[in-house]
């Protein structure tokens, strides 16, 4: 009897905590939508920002495109390096000293504040190497920031869904690159895309690392990776900081949130279809 009461108590606490998490997320989304609803329109999505102070009229189109380009480029660089690191840690250096050292370094890297990445990138890329403030510079910085996250996730995916197949395939005389190309990557692709997309979303929402490396207050859509760019989080930061237009700030926040959620759902759907469960995984 006593055990049953205790079980129910623990269950109730866990449900309560779960509801708080869901409730907070919903509250943020609804609050942002409610407060920003007056500015959200097709024009807001497709126009350039204008007004005095800047950003209190017009739209956020260049910032949307800039954020997407930054996310895509960071995912490409960080995702590729992270997956290769994960492969090395899981399949090539399991239990070795070099693997352990690399894993420790990556764990340390994951604990660095994002502003440090920005400062290091500024010193190295802009000050020492003479690169201008650009999309590429910011993407490299964001890649470095999301690299530990993607590496650790990729390692876990390969450990769980790849290692046994890898060893069994090796015992049949197959080469490592062949096994990785034909079995491991196809088998893990859905989850890898999920890991890279989560890293990308984390990077897309960051301001500190791009503050010194590429983002500007006003710029057209970048025509090359060497152009400076606008970004939604930075635009939001500027609007919120100045306090001139809360509605435009919250409208920008809503667009950013919606973008992140849509990307996450698309990646989730991709993973589901890769695993052959289609929409079922979303709703089960």
């Amino acid at each position: 009897m006593k055990r049953k009461v205790l079980d129910n108590l623990i269950k109730s606490i866990l449900i309560f905590l779960g509801l708080i998490a869901v409730g907070l997320t919903l509250f943020v989304f609804i609050y942002v939508l409610y407060r920003g609803r007056r500015v959200i329109s097709i024009r807001f999505l497709l126009d350039n920002p204008s007004g005095i102070p800047f950003g209190t009229a017009g739209g956020v189109f260049p910032a949307i495109i800039g954020t997407l380009m930054l996310g895509g480029l960071s995912a490409l660089i960080g995702g590729l390096l992270g997956i290769l690191n994960g492969l090395y840690l899981s399949l090539y250096s399991k239990g070795t000293k070099s693997g352990r050292i690399l894993l420790h370094l990556i764990t340390i890297l994951s604990g660095l504040p994002s502003i440090i990445f920005g400062l290091i990138a500024y010193t190295l890329l802009i000050y020492k190497l003479g690169m201008g403030k650009s999309l590429l510079c910011s993407a490299i910085t964001i890649s470095a920031m999301i690299l530990p996250f993607i590496t650790i996730r990729a390692k876990k995916i390969f450990d769980e869904k790849g290692y046994t197949f890898f060893i069994e395939s090796e015992s049949l005389g197959l080469s490592k690159p062949y096994i990785i190309r034909k079995l491991i990557i196809p088998n893990c692709l859905g989850e890898l895309v999920g890991a890279v997309s989560l890293g990308m979303l984390y990077g897309m929402g960051a301001v500190a690392p791009i503050l010194y490396t590429g983002v500007v207050m006003n710029a057209p859509i970048p025509t090359s990776v060497n152009s400076p760019f606008m970004s939604l989080p930075y635009h939001l930061y500027m609007l919120a900081n100045s306090g001139y237009s809360d509605e435009y700030a919250l409208g920008t926040a809503f667009v950013l949130l919606a973008m992140l959620i849509i990307i996450e759902i698309l990646c989730h759907l991709f993973a589901s279809f890769r695993e052959g469960v289609g929409f079922k995984r979303i709703f089960r």
Binding site: F165, I167, E168, E170, S171, G173, L174, N187
Partner: protein, 272 residues
């Protein structure tokens, strides 16, 4: 036996003897002063033995005595698990520790304890391996898939669902699929790590029947905890304890007149 050899075929950078039917020649395995280490821990100590061709050799012993490590050393998969092998293992006259590991594994197939079906269709589980090692045309590939599945007695059960995911197979079917995967290497030696450990009696007997059939073509080394199984199908037995070979000989002699105290105790313990 060697009369059947008609040609040499270049696989990778090594010449491998191939019979008329495509399978490789059956070979003896001679192990001399084999020591295996994982880090500083020595798992196998001074192993000296001969595994005869065309026979089933069962390796028995208590859990943790090094049976599986010994099996994995013969295939050198131990090295992929950061193990270190010292000594000599000869496949007939070639020291396999000096050979390219991929080519070696093509000759010595290993079936793991509770093997996984690769996350692909049943037929791709086999074509994935054959496409790497051989250049079969599509039709020949299909024919070979059928042959190997027939050899392990699986074709009749799955012929309508060859393109279905292999993960849906039962435990016994997965075990046989793993053996078929090994057979499609056309190996000389088949190493099986407790192939029936998770199977019921019917599946166990099916696999034993298949192994008795396969020993005509392959040297088979089998790790088992099941003494009855060893008695039923093994021609030779190696008894290991604490990383060493304690006793070896023909199955009949070992089980009827065990020489060592450890072996006698083990038999008594296993037979209750």
């Amino acid at each position: 036996m060697f009369i059947e050899i008609i040609t040499y075929r270049v696989v990778g950078c090594s010449n491998i003897k191939i019979r008329k039917d495509g399978s490789l020649t059956v070979a003896n395995i001679i192990v001399k002063n084999l020591n295996v280490f994982y880090g500083k821990k020595q798992v196998l100590k001074n192993i000296d033995t001969k595994i005869n061709s065309g026979r089933i050799t069962a390796i028995i012993g208590q859990s943790g005595c090094g049976k599986s490590t010994f099996l994995k050393s013969i295939n050198r998969i131990v090295e992929e698990e950061n193990g270190r092998i010292n000594g000599h293992i000869y496949l007939d006259e070639e020291d396999i520790l000096k050979e390219d590991s991929q080519i070696l594994r093509r000759k010595i197939g290993l079936v793991f304890q509770q093997p996984e079906a690769f996350p692909m269709s049943i037929e791709k589980n086999l074509s994935y391996i054959m496409n790497y090692h051989f250049n079969y045309k599509k039709l020949e590939l299909k024919e070979r898939i059928k042959t190997y599945l027939q050899m392990v007695g699986l074709y009749g059960e799955v012929k309508e669902e060859l393109s279905n995911p292999a993960k849906n197979l039962s435990g016994g079917q997965k075990q046989r699929l793993a053996i078929a995967r090994c057979l499609c290497l056309n190996p000389e030696v088949l190493l099986l790590d407790e192939p029936c450990s998770a199977l019921d009696l019917k599946n166990t007997l099916d696999i034993e029947k298949m192994l008795l059939e396969l020993k005509k073509k392959y040297t088979i080394v089998l790790v088992t905890h099941n003494l009855s199984q060893a008695k039923r199908i093994a021609d030779d037995v190696i008894f290991m304890s604490e990383g060493e070979i304690v006793e070896e000989g023909s199955s009949k002699d070992i089980f009827s007149q065990p020489k060592s105290r450890k072996m006698r105790e083990y038999i008594e313990y296993m037979e209750g």
